[in-house]
């Protein structure tokens, strides 16, 4: 769970934020003004200050907000001056925009507000559609509205060049004022309420938000033009109303509700992608006719309201088709306000104690939740002397104050004043210090009135902060005898504070809360709630996961002594006989088996796993399958130590998995089994997996040299390279390499030989390997206790709606008899309707409804349609006369929740990542790691070392355009491909300057747009969009950019160059291959140090599509030496060669980075 913030304002107008990982409200220090209200989204927080102006606080990010301004300089040739800025009267301006219609001299560009700064001066863009231009950047044409080329020709009469300049939003983490300017001058009256949302309405422009505001006179304003590159938006537009509004709420999607003065509610209708403001209002009556509504809060699919009697109401029947809902349900609890945050989680401020409450148990199935739970954490102003007090005193005080022991214990504690143990902080001094801290006079005046007698709720606050500190301190603070005495001192401190008139502002009175940026759901582990839970959870963490105590001395001692003990008692006596002879242990069960012979079908079998000790004392086992054939009992068996991989197979109706052995890989026919339930399948898989690992002596986490791979379904596998892999002359054949599963779900994994492993999920979330093992279905002993975390992944399932035009009715869903299904998959061969399409497997659950996908390549019209002349052709986004068919893509998100040894690296989602093959020899030496965000930003990770594989922060490497592929090879050579298909080499990347200094634009091969790059030790290969493979010639240490591209091959989909310049590709249309869609693994033969291009291809075997269990589809991206496309013997032999050379030539610092591509 990435860290996100809950925002709140207290009654004094101080703004606080609470981090999901934190345990205290942090005051927003730079807020000079008091605030009335805040409304938060993930990237920023808007607020209304006491001056009734609107302020915006954009959270800083490693990737800055940059906006590219551009203008064109135009020139015409004349015989006198050659090319000059003297243009014809009919021409465009000398400085214009791209169309030439607008006059845009360089000095006409101004920063939109004081919150922006220029990144540098204007400079000339020398990249023309992926091709580098001449030094001056001119492009030539015959006349102005014409096509430009980068070469000057005899008939080039005009030329132009592009100037660019970046401006950067600088006011991050700061409250920046937003001028109250409408389209026609300043707004007539100040603001009273504000609500931000709407980010789910459209992906375009990126980061678009809707901001709704209410003025004191009850008018509603909509802020136009807020998106990523314009966080402040453009201006206010008034929205007409049926009455006067007091408060408004806007959800993440198209839900906007407001409350009228009279107590009714109004609902905005007609909010769409094209019209985020909506079109009209509909009135909904207050839940209670006697007491009108005073507050409303909406989320994705929920509406909550508060009436004047502080009753809370939940609106039933809300969905995307019916934003009005159907009726009110009264809820328990009295609140002054309610806010709906992310995932429809509900936050409120209680009427009774003005504390912030969280609605527990809100899930997509039960949106109304279960109960209110107080968020009970201290504010940073409250942690005073105690932070300096000794850990043991904090801890013990926590114990004193927990539970029912409250005032009494204080009373008891008071008399025994001077603590025998020297207290770390003198009580008086502490309270003085505290008084200093409480500088705002407002608090000073108000606080006494808030302090009640002993036993008042403020004590609960005391409990909490104490226990929490306890939690942080962990077992280190658990010290028997010192505790009692120390606790007295800290209690005494407290008592004095209580009597201090200044110190009593214990109980925060909250005025407003906003959870719009707070990414929690009902499963989130939060340490925000009452003291009792906090305590037990701390104990829990101590005894179970021991995370804070990992390094505790006692634990280390036990580990050390145990290994000493083993040494002492066992090392010299290994030749002794074991007292217990290992016997056979059998586990049986019933399963279904995909029969080996035709007609293939699922047959019921009895399944047994016999485990026993092998001759050398190692665990071993045999799998038996008992079946009936022609009334005759037969069986089939497999030795556990011959199993090479156990693959869960996605199947929407059965829980199936496949068991491979080397022999069965050769036959291409695994043992396919189906269990009755998911649980049963997982039990068996876990047991078999443990058994296989035991039989091969594999225990614990994967080694640093382990090979990592991901299947096309996102399952993660590792293989331990055994010493015999490099044995000469008879190495272990690769079809005997044993792969075992590790929890987690990834789309891409990259590792180096030092044990640094990064992965990227289907939703572009970035994960770093934690050093654990197990997770997922590998529970109990097959899994480490620590370093296993929840992992989620989200992907989209797509279906297509197809229509054909006919002269009478236009486009209809009535196609020709020969046409595809009117609802189909991408190929049109399979019927896929909204109703019958299921998530990829039972592990995936739908998280949203079907929605039109406008992001499909080729573009769409406003309704998402793409047009074509006939069905299997290319589609375009606008209708022409020749188009007779159209289609549109519908997407539905589904989500997988699993566990694995992966921890999220927030917050920037990535599309590609590359780690340097070799490198760091010491544990603190930085390891170069580069990545490309899903928006195309190039990023360099700082602080990646063996000790901190996640690194510390991203360094944004500026580019003039988005990038799509990156690779780092030996000697810090960084190559990247931009979205326009041009290649770039990053200059001067060294350990001292990890991000290098500048990009060198490398011209692409003529008329080709490059797609992907891979860098080895000295070779650089790229693949272009037409499947050509190019080799970069002339690379030398003095000229790392090389000189030219040499064509090597066509029909290549992906290339991977190993750390020893081994070249692997995935090729299409290989002769003899049955499949054009799945690709073939090929290995370049004859690669020698003096002949880096090699000589010819060794074609592997193509994969037949639709034989799912046979295709473990791994695909290399960067330095990968391994590509498992198909478990074919030929292929394995080829891989073997690679492994061998890696081991023989590079004993240390080899890299195996394996990625994969999903083939549907």
């Amino acid at each position: 769970m990435p860290v996100s913030l809950l925002w709140a304002v207290d009654v004094y107008g101080r703004v606080y934020s609470l981090s999901t990982r934190g345990q205290q409200w942090e005051q927003c220090r730079d807020a000079v003004l008091e605030f009335k209200r805040v409304t938060a989204v993930q990237q920023c927080c808007w607020g209304i200050a006491c001056d009734h102006h609107i302020y915006l606080n954009v959270h800083s990010s490693d990737v800055p907000i940059r906006y590219q301004e551009e203008t064109f300089e135009n020139q015409r040739w004349n015989p006198m001056d050659n090319f000059s800025d003297r243009l014809l009267p009919s021409d465009r301006w000398q400085w214009s925009n791209i169309t030439g219609l607008e006059h845009q001299p360089l000095d006409s560009f101004f920063l939109p507000s004081t919150n922006w700064e220029w990144e540098g001066d204007w400079y000339i863009d020398e990249n023309f559609g992926g091709e580098p231009t001449e030094k001056e950047g001119w492009t030539y044409a015959i006349d102005f509205p014409a096509t430009y080329t980068k070469d000057k020709k005899w008939n080039s009469c005009v030329r132009r060049r592009r100037w660019i300049r970046y401006r950067r939003y600088k006011a991050t983490d700061n409250w920046a004022t937003i001028p109250s300017e409408g389209r026609s001058g300043p707004l007539p009256d100040p603001f009273n309420d504000i609500s931000c949302g709407g980010w789910e309405i459209s992906e375009e422009p990126r980061g678009r938000l809707s901001l709704w505001a209410v003025s004191l006179q009850g008018k509603v304003w909509f802020r136009e033009g807020i998106h990523h590159h314009s966080p402040e938006g453009d201006g206010w537009e008034e929205v007409s109303l049926p009455g006067e509004v007091v408060q408004i709420s806007c959800g993440p999607g198209d839900l906007v509700w407001a409350v009228l003065w009279e107590g009714q509610l109004i609902v905005r209708e007609g909010i769409t992608r094209d019209c985020p403001r909506g079109s009209s209002w509909v009135v909904v009556d207050s839940p209670n006719p006697e007491a009108g509504a005073i507050h409303v809060a909406v989320g994705d699919n929920v509406v909550w309201a508060v009436t004047k009697d502080n009753k809370v109401w939940y609106r039933r029947g809300i969905n995307s088709y019916n934003p009005r809902g159907s009726g009110w349900i009264g809820m328990i609890g009295e609140m002054v306000m309610i806010n709906v945050g992310l995932n429809d989680q509900v936050w409120g401020i209680s009427c009774e104690d003005r504390a912030v409450y969280f609605r527990q148990g809100v899930t997509s199935n039960e949106l109304s939740g279960k109960a209110w739970k107080a968020v009970n954490v201290p504010r940073d102003g409250d942690i005073r002397s105690h932070s300096s007090a000794s850990s043991s005193s904090l801890h013990s005080a926590g114990c004193f104050f927990s539970g029912e022991v409250r005032a009494q214990s204080v009373m008891r504690a008071c008399p025994s004043s001077p603590p025998p143990d020297p207290p770390p902080v003198d009580p008086d001094e502490a309270s003085l210090r505290e008084a200093d801290a409480k500088s705002p006079p407002l608090a000073l005046v108000l606080s006494p009135s808030l302090s009640g007698g002993p036993g008042d709720p403020q004590w609960s606050n005391v409990d909490l902060e104490e226990t929490q500190t306890h939690l942080a301190v962990g077992p280190a603070g658990v010290r028997g005898d010192a505790a009692d005495t120390c606790s007295l001192s800290s209690v005494a401190t407290y008592t004095l504070c209580q009597e201090e008139p200044y110190g009593a502002d214990e109980h925060p009175l909250w005025a407003w809360v906003s959870g719009g940026g707070c990414g929690v759901d009902c499963h989130s582990q939060l340490n925000w709630f009452n003291s009792a839970t906090a305590l037990s959870s701390s104990v829990q963490s101590m005894s179970l996961s021991i995370s804070p105590a990992q390094t505790a001395a006692w634990r280390k001692q036990i580990f050390e002594q145990l290994s000493e003990r083993s040494k002492r008692e066992m090392d010299n006596f290994k030749h002794y006989e074991q007292a217990i002879e290992q016997s056979v242990w059998v586990k049986k069960g019933a399963m279904q088996w995909w029969r080996d012979w035709k007609p293939h079908k699922w047959v019921d079998v009895r399944f047994a796993l016999e485990q026993f000790s092998g001759p050398e004392g190692n665990q071993d086992g045999i799998l038996f399958l008992y079946y009936n054939f022609n009334e005759e009992k037969k069986y089939l068996h497999a030795f556990i130590n011959e199993v090479t991989i156990l693959v869960p197979v996605l199947n929407d109706s059965k829980h199936t998995f496949a068991v491979y052995t080397a022999e069965r890989t050769k036959q291409r026919w695994p043992i396919r089994l189906a269990a009755a339930t998911e649980l049963e399948m997982h039990d068996w898989l876990a047991l078999l997996s443990v058994s296989c690992c035991d039989s091969r002596g594999i225990q614990g986490p994967p080694s640093k040299q382990a090979l990592w791979s991901v299947t096309c379904k996102g399952d993660v596998f590792v293989c331990e390279p055994s010493p015999s892999l490099e044995a000469c002359p008879y190495p272990t054949p690769c079809d005997q390499m044993f792969w075992h599963q590790v929890g987690g779900h990834l789309r891409l994994v990259e590792c180096n030989s030092l044990g640094v492993v990064w992965g990227v999920g289907y939703d572009h979330t970035v994960w770093v390997y934690t050093g654990g093992y197990g997770g997922g279905f590998l529970q109990g002993l097959a899994s480490s206790t620590d370093n296993i975390y929840t992992q989620t992944d989200v992907k989209c399932v797509y279906i297509y709606e197809n229509q054909r035009w006919n002269p009478v009715t236009g486009y209809t869903n009535r196609g020709l008899p020969t046409d595809r299904y009117m609802w189909s998959d991408a190929t049109g061969l399979q019927e896929c309707t909204k109703a019958n399409t299921k998530p990829p497997s039972p592990h995936w659950t739908w998280v949203a409804d079907w929605a039109i996908d406008y992001g499909i390549s080729g573009g769409t019209d406003r309704e998402g349609w793409q047009y074509a002349a006939d069905f299997p052709t290319s589609y375009h986004g606008h209708k022409t006369l020749k188009d007779f068919v159209r289609r549109r893509r519908w997407a539905r998100k589904c989500k997988l929740t699993t566990t694995g040894p992966w921890q999220e690296v927030p917050p920037i989602p990535l599309s590609d990542v590359t780690i340097i093959p070799c490198g760091a020899q010491s544990i603190v030496e930085p390891i170069p790691l580069w990545a490309i965000s899903n928006k195309g930003d190039v990023l360099c990770r700082l602080g990646v070392t063996l000790l901190t594989p996640a690194g510390t922060s991203w360094l944004h490497v500026g580019t003039d355009q988005p990038f799509k592929s990156i690779s780092i090879g030996g000697a810090n050579q960084v190559w990247a491909i931009a979205r326009d298909g041009s290649a770039f080499y990053r200059g001067s990347v060294t350990a001292q300057s990890p991000s290098g200094d500048c990009w060198y634009h490398i011209p692409s091969p003529v008329r080709q747009k490059l797609q992907q790059v891979s860098v080895g030790r000295t070779s650089v290969y790229t693949v272009d969009q037409h499947g050509n493979l190019w080799f970069r010639q002339g690379l030398t240490p003095s000229c790392p950019q090389g000189s030219s591209w040499e064509h090597i091959s066509n029909n290549v989909r992906k290339v991977s160059v190993g750390p020893l310049d081994q070249v692997w590709i995935i090729a299409d249309k290989v002769q003899g291959s049955h499949s054009l869609s799945c690709g073939t693994v090929c290995h370049r033969l004859g690669v020698q140090p003096m002949e880096p291009k090699g000589q010819s291809w060794d074609y592997g075997i193509g994969v037949r599509p639709l034989t799912l269990p046979l295709t473990l589809t791994h695909q290399p991206i960067a330095h990968g030496a391994f590509t498992v496309i198909c478990l074919s013997p030929e292929w394995f032999v080829s891989v073997m060669a690679t492994v061998k050379s890696l081991y023989v030539h590079v004993p240390r610092g080899t890299v195996f980075s394996i990625a994969f591509l999903c083939y549907s």
Binding site: V478, S536, W554, F559, L562, Y576
Partner: protein, 275 residues
């Protein structure tokens, strides 16, 4: 970084190299060779000494054989204590292999329980587990298990099957998260110098005011002598599974990780070696 799971494995696979010699007064037909064996610390003497018996029977007449029993330096070894405990209690700080004398005569009835068959051991083992669960979960977990689950625990121990045993034992080690630990920690403290066989009291893993009890807290409560004073040298060693955990080790963690298969934490307090 090592994982807590490794502790379970290390503890389970603890072995004591042992040399069995026949008591000198036993009548043999020819000289009895000593017999060397790796004894699992977690198991019981009579459960794992079939080989020993077989070995010595070869040199003895059938009529000279009564129930087999063992002693170490004159101390009769109680088979119903786990082997690791016997070793820690009587023989730590002695040279390895552990030298055990085997007797087939003069069974010391006052010191030892008879052990006619493995089912006696099983009964003893299961009753220990049940007692431990009574302390930990008011017997709820063990009572919810089926007969075959009980059998799996026993078979796991008998056949030295770590996975088989822990697949079931895991359930006995669970507890409600809000309580932060077991109800009471099943422990026994054994003293070499005492007439009492062991000390066993009710002791919670968490104090009433919510802090975690440690091994030190336990000793302070039930046997304060074992805790060294600041200024004097260590008089006693507190040994569990042949190691001396630090006194600040949380008791709940010890109970989860260093308990014997019978679910008891067997703690030996032995005099520190005087060197």
């Amino acid at each position: 970084m090592a994982d807590d799971k490794d502790v379970l494995r290390d503890v389970w696979f603890g072995r004591i190299p042992t040399c069995f010699t026949l008591y000198q007064d036993e009548i043999t037909e020819r000289e009895a060779e000593p017999f060397y064996l790796l004894l699992p610390r977690m198991s019981y003497l009579t459960l794992v000494t079939d080989k020993v018996k077989k070995h010595f029977l070869k040199v003895m007449k059938a009529e000279d054989i009564e129930e087999m029993w063992f002693d170490f330096e004159g101390t009769s070894l109680k088979w119903h204590y786990p082997i690791g405990l016997l070793f820690d209690l009587h023989a730590s700080n002695t040279a390895l292999p552990w030298s055990i004398t085997v007797h087939f005569k003069n069974f010391p009835k006052c010191d030892l329980l008879h052990c006619p068959s493995n089912s006696v051991i099983e009964a003893h083992f299961m009753s220990s587990i049940k007692e431990a669960d009574a302390l930990k979960h008011k017997s709820q977990v063990i009572n919810d298990m089926q007969k075959k689950d009980h059998k799996q625990l026993w078979m796991g121990l008998q056949n030295d099957k770590f996975d088989q045993f822990w697949a079931m034992n895991r359930k006995l080690m669970e507890y409600p998260t809000e309580e932060g630990g077991f109800r009471y920690i099943p422990f026994r403290i054994y003293l070499t110098m005492s007439d009492r066989p062991f000390i066993q009291k009710l002791f919670r893993p968490i104090s009433p005011d919510g802090h975690t009890h440690t091994l030190g807290d336990l000793l302070k409560e039930v046997y304060p002598v074992a805790i060294p004073n600041d200024d004097e040298s260590k008089r006693y060693q507190v040994v569990i599974h042949g190691i001396e955990p630090l006194l600040e080790t949380p008791l709940q963690w010890l109970s989860e990780h260093l308990s014997h298969p019978d679910n008891f934490l067997h703690i030996s307090v032995i005099p520190a070696p005087s060197d």
